[in-house]
């Protein structure tokens, strides 16, 4: 394990005030990430995985109240004054999104957008920033990069735009990259290209990456560690091998078992009954208890605490503990 954490998140909570009552989209997320490590937040829609990233970037609207700490290089991002936050965003902390068409500005060329970012952050001349932009497009393997520099986003294909957005995110050498489902909207042959590119860049630049996805296969391809998120909470975290091979939380198990594989042809798929709860009407105890086969009275009434099983390995389930104890 590495010595110092590149990112240290303590008790991150994002509350949305709504007429029907407050809603915690992220409820006390705590994790730290070493330099050069890739952590995936795996979860279904509405689990709070994207909100976690947006909260870390300070991208949530004013009516969201965010508490906790997000330390990047020793500074708490959440407590930075606006000017310093703007400097950190796109500087040491950068983000890529699912829809590059929505994330890129349609009225500026790719080159202009990258150069502008570099000029803003580093104060170098526009001409040398444009040189850097060219090198970045080449780095993300965009063919005929010099010509593509002058393209508007709509003139590029989906995979190309995703590469352009990665180039933009990497413009100021971030130490931490947040990736919000960057391959979900892509075709499968393009998705694997982007995953391989991200893996290569991450290793070369020694970046820490927090990758959000709902796809177990994508998580297996890219992560060192996985955090499984359900109803706003991390229910289990561990190394990619631990989670993929020996999941401990009943939800992680259910998610892996219900993953459709060709090899299961002709068999019934194992399923998790019901559907994920609404964040504004969470069950009183463990949020997963209404769908859990192992749930008992305690699960229905009490929220289980995190049990730390090792460095970076936690599980939030009463029964995972007893199962562990029995195993020992």
């Amino acid at each position: 394990m590495a010595t110092e954490a590149a990112v240290d998140v303590r008790n991150l909570t994002a509350m949305f005030r709504r007429r029907e009552g407050d809603m915690a989209a992220v409820n006390g997320a705590t994790f730290s990430l070493a330099r050069g490590e890739v952590m995936t937040i795996l979860g279904e829609s509405g689990s709070g995985k994207s909100v976690t990233l947006k909260a870390m970037m300070g991208l949530l609207p004013d009516y969201a109240s965010i508490t906790g700490e997000v330390r990047v290089a020793g500074r708490d991002i959440l407590k930075l004054p606006p000017a310093a936050l703007a400097k950190a965003r796109g500087g040491e902390l950068s983000m890529i999104f699912q829809e590059p068409m929505a994330a890129l500005d349609p009225v500026y060329t790719i080159g202009e957008q990258i150069a502008e970012t570099i000029v803003k952050h580093e104060g170098i001349t526009y001409a040398s920033a444009m040189q850097r932009a060219l090198a970045l497009l080449e780095r993300v393997a965009i063919p005929s990069a010099a010509r593509r520099l002058k393209n508007y986003p709509h003139e590029m294909s989906g995979g190309m735009r995703q590469r352009a957005m990665i180039a933009l995110a990497l413009a100021c050498n971030p130490t931490v990259l947040l990736a919000d489902e960057p391959t979900t909207a892509l075709d499968v042959t393009v998705q694997i290209q982007i995953l391989l590119l991200l893996r290569e860049l991450q290793q070369e630049l020694g970046m820490s990456v927090i990758f959000v996805t709902h796809d177990v296969g994508v998580a297996a391809e890219i992560s060192d560690r996985i955090a499984v998120m359900y109803a706003g909470r991390f229910v289990e975290t561990g190394t990619v091998r631990e989670i993929m091979r020996h999941p401990k939380h009943p939800y992680s198990k259910g998610l892996l078992n219900s993953t459709v594989l060709g090899g299961l042809r002709g068999r019934r798929l194992e399923t998790i009954p019901g559907s994920p709860p609404s964040l504004s009407a969470l069950p009183r105890g463990c949020a997963f208890s209404p769908r859990c086969a192992q749930a008992d009275v305690r699960c229905l009434t009490t929220q289980p605490d995190e049990t730390v099983l090792g460095p970076g390995t936690i599980v939030r389930c009463f029964h995972a503990n007893t199962a562990m104890a029995e195993a020992i």
């Binding site: 499968v188 995953l195 296969g217 993953t259 459709v260 060709g262 798929l269 399923t271 559907s275």
Partner: protein, 355 residues
Amino acid sequence: MSSTTAQPTLDPRDRGGPAQPLLIVDELTKHFPVYGGALNRQVATVHAVDGVSLSVRKGETLGIVGESGCGKSTTARLLMQLIKPDSGRLIFDGDEVGAPGGIDVTSMRRQMQMVFQDSYSSLNPRMTMIDSIAYAPRMHGLSAKAAEARAESLLERVGLHPRQFGRRYPHELSGGQRQRVNIARALALEPRLVILDEAVSALDKSVEAQVLNLLADLKEQFNLTYLFISHDLNVVEFISDRVLVMYLGQVVETGPVEDIYSRPRHPYTRALLASIPTLDPDRRTTVLPLTGDPPNPINPPLGCRFRTRCPFAEAGCAETTPKLAAPIGTQANPVTPHLVACHVAAAQQGAIHGH
């Protein structure tokens, strides 16, 4: 789920017996014009579907896979006659659709129904679930009371309690529940063929598995035949008996699911399968299966459409469009043949590089 040799029990509507395919599609073609320029003249053509032929056997599930722009959804819409084909014939259980002496579009649609990807936009927001499901039977002549009774029993069959869900509106249901209603609605006319166009793609993984199990149950109960269109290669392998792989508006390979997934012959099929993310962190993908994006179906390459991305392409590939044929050196099984549209032997073997 059924095996490749599903034996459908006798359906009174069955005309040609079990050996006659339920649906035969012959050289289906649809081009869309692209207008532009100062005079708004036609400047280009989208070759959405170009000479697609296929047959769906009674009781089977035929999977259609391909990436965006390959024409799989346009094919589905053409089959339902939601858009008019430029050319090509549809033969439903021996009767040509829209031809003299054949069956008309309305009676074909009574036997062929479709489920779409977006469960919300395919339901009328002002109609309750019962009304949505009962609508088609009423239009086709059932009394309001009988139609409602059928809707209730269908809701029950798809796992939704009619008392609890029947009077709800689409926005009051979750995505998985709405898709169950869409399936119930598709079954309301007692169709024989159901086209599922990315029907589980928008669902959460835990819900997707539930709906796939439901589809398997319904297929058995109602003696259905499925045409399952998806971009998800794992799901297609799981559900299909036979598979059709499309690329830029054409079929590049077809055959029984085991043959396609274990011995793919077309270089595109191989690249597609090699792109599936692994579930084993110790066996991650290291070699890029394919570079670049799928090309635009506007003015596709002449000859073989895959040749611009194909590592095996030869001069001849630009000249003639390969036709679907048995792989070189094999005899095609006459009932469920494995066919590939590629004329380079090395490409069919995948000899040069190791995917």
